[in-house]
Structure formats: C-alpha cells, structure tokens
Symmetry: C2
C-alpha cells in the first residue's frame, strides 16, 4: 500500500524532503561493504563531523535506526549501573533521556523545569555541586514544548564539574547553531528527518574524544559503540546498513553544506520570526517566552474553548497540511508547527497561517481576515 496524497508536512517531523534527496534515495543498491559504499560512508562521516563542528578525535557516524536509537547509543555507551547522571527534564524528550538512563542502571537525579520554559544553568550548577554527576543529559531543542535550552552555558557548567555532556540535538541539528567543539559537547545525537531534510531511519551520532575515553561496557549488541567503530572505521561487519537511507542522508547533508550552516540557521530564524509575527497578528501566542523559543518548532497555545483535534483534522482534510499535537501534559493545549529543512520556506509560513485562520474559524475562533499572512509577509520583507 502506498500513500494517497502528498502532505504539506509542518508537524514535528518528518519534514518535507527535497526532490534531489528523494532521487538519491532511489539510487542503485550497493552492499554494505562494497568499495563504492565504503567511500560514501567515509564522506558521510566527514560531513557529519563538519555539521556538528566536531573536535579533533571525534567519531561521527549514522546509526541504523531513528533518533531514539541514537539516544540509546549515547546512553548505553556512557551510562552503566552506578553512573551518576543529572538529567535536565524540561519536556517529553528530556524525560525519555532520564528514563533511558535509569534503564541502563544510572543513578539519575533530575533538574525539573516547567514544560514551556528553558532550564536555568545556575540550577544545573547547584545540582551538579550536590550530585557530582558524571554525565549531564540535556535536550537542546525540546520538541515537545518548542523550547531551546541554553546548551553552551549548560556545557560550560558541566565542564566545571568534569561531567560529560550528552546532548539530544534531534530538533536542532541543521536548524539552530550547534558547535560541539566550541561548546564542549561530548555526545550528540540527532535524526535525519527534521532540519536535515532526509527520510527518517538514520540517527547522526557524534562521540567526542572525552566521551570515547570514558565509554562504559555496552550491554547491548546493536548499539555497542566499539562494534560500531569497528564497522565504520575498520569495515568489520556488524549489520547491513541501509544504503538507500545513507544515499539520501548524504545528499541532504550536501544540500546543508551548499546552503552553508550559518545561512541555514538564519533561514530557520527568519521564517520562525515571520511565523511568530503572523501568529501574534492573529491573536495567538507561543508557549515559550521570547528568547527561549525554537526556530524549528513552534508551540502555539490552543485558544480557550477550541478543540485542537478538530483544528488538526480540518488542516489535514481541507488543506492537506499536517501539524502536530501536544504530548503528555500538553496534549490538547498546544499545536506544534515545524518549520524545518525543506519545510522552512516563506510560502509555507504564509500557507500555514492562512490555513490555520480557516481551521480556527471553523471552530469559532475568528482572527482578523488575512492578518496572519500579512504580518508574516511584512516581517519577511
């Protein structure tokens, strides 16, 4: 069975995919140890290192699985029974990192942050002083709340206490500035289907030199970093990588580098700001305060009395447009609109505002006609 339609993907991911990337996906199959494929693997590693701004002595690769598999690679190779972990929990994915660390035997303490707010690095400093954690887990861009955590400041605090910084960059890599070398990030994982603009199924993973020094014995096999290093670096068979997904990610990263990281970040910022201006003109508000907002994912408060599911259904059925719902405690309370990768365009900003105006009107929420698109257009000018 195949899809009946081509959606406008403005949810929390997957994002739209450039035609070049789709064509790469369909390139001829090669086996995982073919001499041609090995060259593609090396090229991909180098691209990932550049895009993460990896320090000398890092190991970057693409895990054969989704972003959650990358999370588990990071946790299962750095947390073992007894490892003291400090998990910053400011949303669903921060909580998932804490849960996973517990599963791997970590003694997990949390810095709990209200959903919708960024963590205060001073709170992290205080807790680190108390817990002497060896690993700090943090979500850079919290997909569930639309909040950007101050990663550089957190990493600085962690380094003061000689703790490793384990970073979820699923909704930031390729959309927000991230500098593993400059900021001192030790382990970073992301996904392929959001700001990087490829199909899901691969997770870019980076281990910096300090993390590589402090690996713990991995209990699993699929996620064992030593086996993965042997595969990527020494061509020792571990699993049969999906060449199709590797081609697509490779092409997507080529596009990222052609655009330039700074230009790409600026594009995500510009379209977010235009979208936010449009929302404001429509009488809508974002959950996070100014200065803590993601450029890649907009968490919009559902107006009082409006049924969020009806709005999303209207968008899907009348406008063929997908946006996301709230997760956990935010279910029914926010919409999540992703403007990531190929989905971050001026046309989609205004199209989404216009469709949202229509869908909200159908539920009884009347924004001034055309105000959203007009404000966004003005902001883009």
């Amino acid at each position: 069975m195949l899809p009946s339609t081509e959606r406008l993907l403005l949810g929390p991911g997957p994002s739209l995919i450039a035609p070049r990337v789709m064509r790469a996906l369909g390139a001829p199959m090669l086996s995982h140890l073919d001499p041609d494929f090995v060259v593609i693997m090396d090229d991909l590693r180098a691209r990932l290192e550049r895009i993460c701004r990896a320090p000398e002595g890092s190991f970057a690769f693409a895990m054969s699985g989704t972003g959650t598999s990358g999370m588990e690679v990071a946790v299962s190779n750095l947390v073992q029974p007894g490892t003291r972990v400090l998990s910053i929990v400011s949303g669903y994915f921060g909580d998932r990192l804490a849960q996973m660390s517990v599963r791997y035997g970590g003694e997990v303490e949390k810095v709990a942050v209200d959903w919708g707010r960024a963590v205060d690095p001073d709170a992290v400093r205080t807790m680190l002083g108390k817990t002497r954690a060896e690993v700090v887990t943090v979500v850079h861009a919290e997909t569930s709340t639309g909040v950007l955590n101050p990663l550089e400041a957190i990493a600085t605090v962690a380094r003061e206490h000689d703790a490793l910084v384990l970073v979820d960059a699923v909704t930031s890599l390729g959309g927000h500035p991230l500098d593993a070398d400059g900021w001192g990030l030790d382990a970073v994982y992301s996904c392929s289907q959001k700001c990087l603009g490829s199909p899901s199924g691969l997770s870019p993973v980076l281990f910096g030199p300090l993390a590589l020094e402090r690996l713990v014995p991995c209990r699993g096999f699929y996620f064992d970093l030593e086996l993965l290093e042997d595969y990527w670096l020494k061509r020792k068979y571990h699993h049969t990588m999906s060449a199709s997904l590797i081609y697509a990610l490779s092409e997507a990263l080529t596009i990222v580098e052609e655009e330039g990281l700074e230009a790409r970040w600026a594009r995500h910022e510009r379209h977010h700001r235009a979208f936010a201006a449009g929302l404001e003109a429509m009488g809508l508000s974002l959950l996070p305060p100014e200065g803590e907002r993601l450029w890649t994912l907009n968490a919009i408060r559902v107006p009082e009395g409006i049924d969020d599911a009806a709005v999303r259904k209207h968008l899907l059925t009348k406008h063929n447009m997908e946006i996301g719902a709230g997760l956990g405690p935010l279910a029914g309370k926010i919409f999540r609109v992703g403007l990531m990768g190929a989905s971050s365009t001026p046309e989609l900003v205004t199209a989404c505002l216009t469709a949202l105006e229509d869908a909200l009107a159908a539920q009884g929420f009347r924004a001034p006609a055309g105000a959203g698109a007009a404000a966004a257009t003005a902001a883009l000018a």
Copy 2:
C-alpha cells in the same frame, strides 16, 4: 555522494530490488502517525503474519533497524538474567545469537555444530534434557555456511521440553518454507533485503502467543516489545518510523504474495539446483552436503591454491558482480553466492557461472569452457 554503478548483487544480501519496490521507496513522505500511514502499518502487519504463517494471537511488525536489530528485539524481550538458553551454533549468526543472549544475562549452553553442517535434532534433545533450557535459539538458514537447519524438527524437540523457539529467519523468510503456526515457532525475525527484496533497514519480527505470555522485562527502550506493541497497535508514539522503508517493504511483500509463497520457494529451489548443477559441471563443490543446502545462499569451496579475494575483485571490476566472502573460520575458504528475491533468476544463474568461470580462469583454475552455464541451462529446461 552516490554510487557510480548498478551492481549485480549476488552476495549474501542486499539482493537486487524490483523497480516497483524502488518506486514505492520514493513515494511521498507521511508522518508516522498520519491516518494514511496507520492504514499502511496495519496492512503490513497482516502481510507479515501471512508470510510467516503466524498463529492466532501473534504480534508481527517491522522493527526500525536491520536484521540484527530484530535479533536484539527477540533476545532482549525473552532473555533476562538467569534465563536458561540453549543456542544452536552452526555458524557466525548462531554464535551471534549466543553472544547476544549472554549480554542479556542468559545462562547459555551451546550445541556446537561443525561449520558447514546442519544440527542433529537428537543432539538438541539430549542437551535440552540436560539443561532444561527455557529458550532455544536457532538460525534457520545460516548465512555464513549456506546450511539449512531442520527447523521443524528442532521446534518439535523444543516443544517437548516446553522451551520457546527463537528463530533467525534472515536468509530464509520468503525463500524457504517457514510455518510459524504449523511448526510451533515462538519468535521469528528476518530482514528486508534478502529474500523479501526490499532495501535493508527494517526487520520483520513475529512474536507468537506463547512468547507474548513469557515476555521478560526488556532493559532497553528502543527494543522494548511492550512499547513497540503500544506503537503499532495503540498508536502511542515511540519512534518516527521510516515511511520510505515501510512503503518499500509493503510493496515487496505485495510482490511476494502475488507470486505466492509456494511458487516463490519453488523458484528459489529451482535456481539453486540449476546453479549447483553448473558448479558441479565446472568442478566446483558446495560446502554443505546435499540435503543440508540452502536454496538462497550457496557456499562454494574455494578451489585449492586460488586466492578468493582476487576472484571476487575480478567479478566486481570486470563483471560488475558482487559475491560474498567467507566469514570467521571460513574466510578465504568459501565464496558465498546469494540467489535471493529478485536476484534469483535463470539469467543471473548462468551469468554468475559464466563470470565465475572467467574469474577463476584468471587465477589459473580452468573449468571446461561453458560447462557451468550449459549444465545449469539443462537443469532449468
């Protein structure tokens, strides 16, 4: 970077992929919880159940990862510290199953079998009587040796001792008869890129009703079957499935069912027999004895004094044809020729024999000119 060529894939996998499947791979992206996608997921589950001949009350799904990820799903949800496991080790993948069971805390005993031979079910019976194992792990089609293990008989023995049967069907599903219901198989995993004819990156997994009753707490998160069931059955978010790979697998399974399972098995058998006749006419021999040979993967002894790597390189560079090398103790001793899925055709049987004749001749091994292809053609007639 993209591949420079379209190889004739006759190694241990990936196999060639039908154009229909490649086109499905490029179908428009849908998100993992899109109403359209959910229908595709349900259809895929039903197809996997039919292709595995699953008993009532099974749970079949596609794990977002390669065959090795499927192996880890099976092991990590059925083996916990203290679980008594009997692992049949007749090759590289049987050994990997044993290793993985140890990683998950299993008390693993092995039935060791010479590489190149099938296990004797009586040896399994004896060991089961001694060890009272709760789980028996077995590789149906041992990719490293080209051997078919007598799965039905092994499952019968395991059932006599009330042990669960955990089956690696990576190189058999879709190429050799497999009947989870009729034979009493409790957990089965496979891959997408061999006999099923899709790109790698997904692992079909089946848990039968008894296995579902005897789940152990899974230490991991990505492989936790309860979370995976909640995702596939209750749409509770777990990870962002790769829609592209799901489309391709769905199309590949459609082709399997259009051909018919019995017809497909017969095709694999017919082409294997023709290929084996050709090899014999060329003075080459297969590692496993008659009756223990896979139809899907042919383990050919490297003739005395021949450099296997030079032969494989000749095939790759002069004929654009990939075949596999030996693994572990069989490195340098066998070639592995896969005739699986879309790679199992009369044309590729004769093309491979002809190319092999040329490549071996370049290394000083002279087979009677055209004898291989002629014998295969006669066998196919």
